[in-house]
């Protein structure tokens, strides 16, 4: 029983980071209705910005965090300009494949800058786990969870309480109507991309500072985890993204504990598959028409 509670707690902690990744995905997806495969790799580029500062210039934790976010935003905008902005309506699949090509590009760029497979990343906090009765909670996990909840709250507030959020929701609801009330849709899409990358940057920083190491594979990992969490939680729903992440985390930790790492991943994909077949809209989302088909 204690194990079960402990695992659930750990799952929630890890799930928080998945939820964060899904949050950024959801923002891009909601606005564009297109899939950005290089979402993870742009975060990875941000992480490499931070790692270079840390390794070569001895930057502190905050400076590294800022560098990760800035790097993710810059590469995120690069992806938007190259893979999304120039694509006509109906070319959603070209955007997706193009974002995949840029993924390959970003991964190789990272390897050129730092050629070894792994590099150390500065730890969030060092120190023993907190003991709460019979349960153990890692302090960095706690920070990650707090960060995820805070950031989700900030995103939710920004969407529902600011002019930017108002415009964004207008675009999500109906781009033409948004145009008609005076929203500059093109500009807003770039801003949304930048915001999503910033969210991803924070998520990436927290995850890496807990893992204390960075590899070029982080890009693929982030894309996959974010995508799975988003699909489980429901397309286009902010609370759904977070919930999907948490569910994924809990499922993973429990199945890892019971059956080992390989079966953990098997379970994660099975949950995803089962959700897609039985409830394509995910936990909280609805079935949204995604512009991936290639009608001319």
């Amino acid at each position: 029983m204690i194990d079960f509670i402990q695992n659930t707690i750990d799952g929630v902690m890890i799930g928080a980071s998945y939820g964060l990744l899904a949050l950024g995905f959801t923002v891009i997806f909601g606005v564009m209705r297109r899939l950005n495969l290089s979402y993870g790799p742009t975060i990875m580029i941000g992480a490499y910005f931070g790692t270079v500062l840390y390794l070569h210039f001895g930057a502190g934790l905050l400076a590294v965090a800022a560098a990760v976010v800035v790097g993710a935003v810059i590469s995120g905008i690069y992806v938007e300009r190259l893979c999304f902005a120039p694509m006509k309506a109906g070319a959603g699949i070209a955007s997706m494949v193009s974002s995949f090509a840029i993924w390959m590009q970003l991964e190789q760029a990272a390897v050129l800058v730092l050629p070894r497979h792994t590099y150390p990343f500065p730890p969030l906090v060092t120190g023993p786990a907190l003991e709460i009765g019979p349960l153990l909670v890692r302090p960095d996990h706690l920070i990650m969870l707090t960060g995820a909840l805070l950031l989700a709250a900030v995103v939710q507030l920004a969407l529902y309480r600011t002019r930017f959020g108002l415009g964004l929701r207008a675009v999500i609801a109906n781009p033409i109507a948004a145009n008609l009330v005076g929203v500059d849709v093109g500009r807003l899409v770039v801003l949304a991309f930048a915001a999503a990358s910033a969210i991803g940057g924070v998520a990436g920083f927290l995850v890496l500072a807990v893992d204390q190491q960075v590899t070029p594979m982080f890009g693929m990992w982030a894309t996959l985890k974010g995508l799975i969490a988003m699909m489980i939680g429901g397309l286009g729903s902010i609370p759904g993204a977070l919930l999907g992440g948490l569910l994924l985390g809990v499922v993973e930790v429990h199945s890892h504990w019971l059956f080992g790492p390989q079966v953990r991943d098997l379970f994660a994909y099975f949950v995803l598959f089962a959700f897609l077949v039985a409830r394509p809209g995910g936990l909280l989302g609805r079935t949204i028409d995604v512009e991936l088909s290639h009608r001319a």
């Binding site: 002019r163 108002l166 415009g167 929701r169 207008a170 609801a173 109906n174 033409i176 109507a177 948004a178 145009n179 008609l180 009330v181 005076g182 929203v183 500059d184």
Partner: protein, 239 residues
Amino acid sequence: MLDVSDLVTTYGKIEALRGVSLHVEGGKITCLLGPNGAGKTTLMMTIAGILRPRRGSIKLEGTELVGLSPAKIVSRGVALVPENRLVFPEMSVRENLLAGAYQRRDKSGIAADMERMYARFPRLKERREQLAGTLSGGEQQMLAVARALMSRPRVLLMDEPSLGLAPLVVAEIFDIVAALNRDGTTILLVEQNAHMALKVAHQFFLMEQGRVTFQGTPGQLAEDEVIQRAYLGTRRVAG
């Protein structure tokens, strides 16, 4: 006020507007009648900047609007109440109105205008925190009008405000149109409901297959004649 001259807009392969010219007088209600597919909605979307014309010009008090983004056109003072209303269904009534004022930065002015809208549309006030998608058709139409007014337009374009509404609600909408005009708003109105439209309009245009085929004042043609020309065909069948 608003001068459209020789406007040509193509929609894919369809030439939807084949050289449309018309003049909307300031402070008046101008009405556009014609069968489906005549190009009325295309004209409205072109004026609002959603569609780009092949050629021709649209001038608002002498300033060219062609080539401006829809957002710029809104800030110049042209607002469109689109066909089928297109309210933001997942936003509250209040948020829809706020979105209407998206180009404006004067917080106190926006707040004052919100109150004015609530005064004019009491039912919107009652439902201010309700999601727009849950409103009835008539309420959504009022919201769409109010949302457009929030940008303080000099010219209000309305595309078929009576579409799909029950007769009583249609009468209500037209009362609003007339009232807005009395307060000094210039209105260009596209309508199917010719009777209502001719009752409020100061001048009207008939459109057919992308062209203006008639223009005049409501007294000029008998109502029956308008209907005959616009919808039932001029060629009388035998028998």
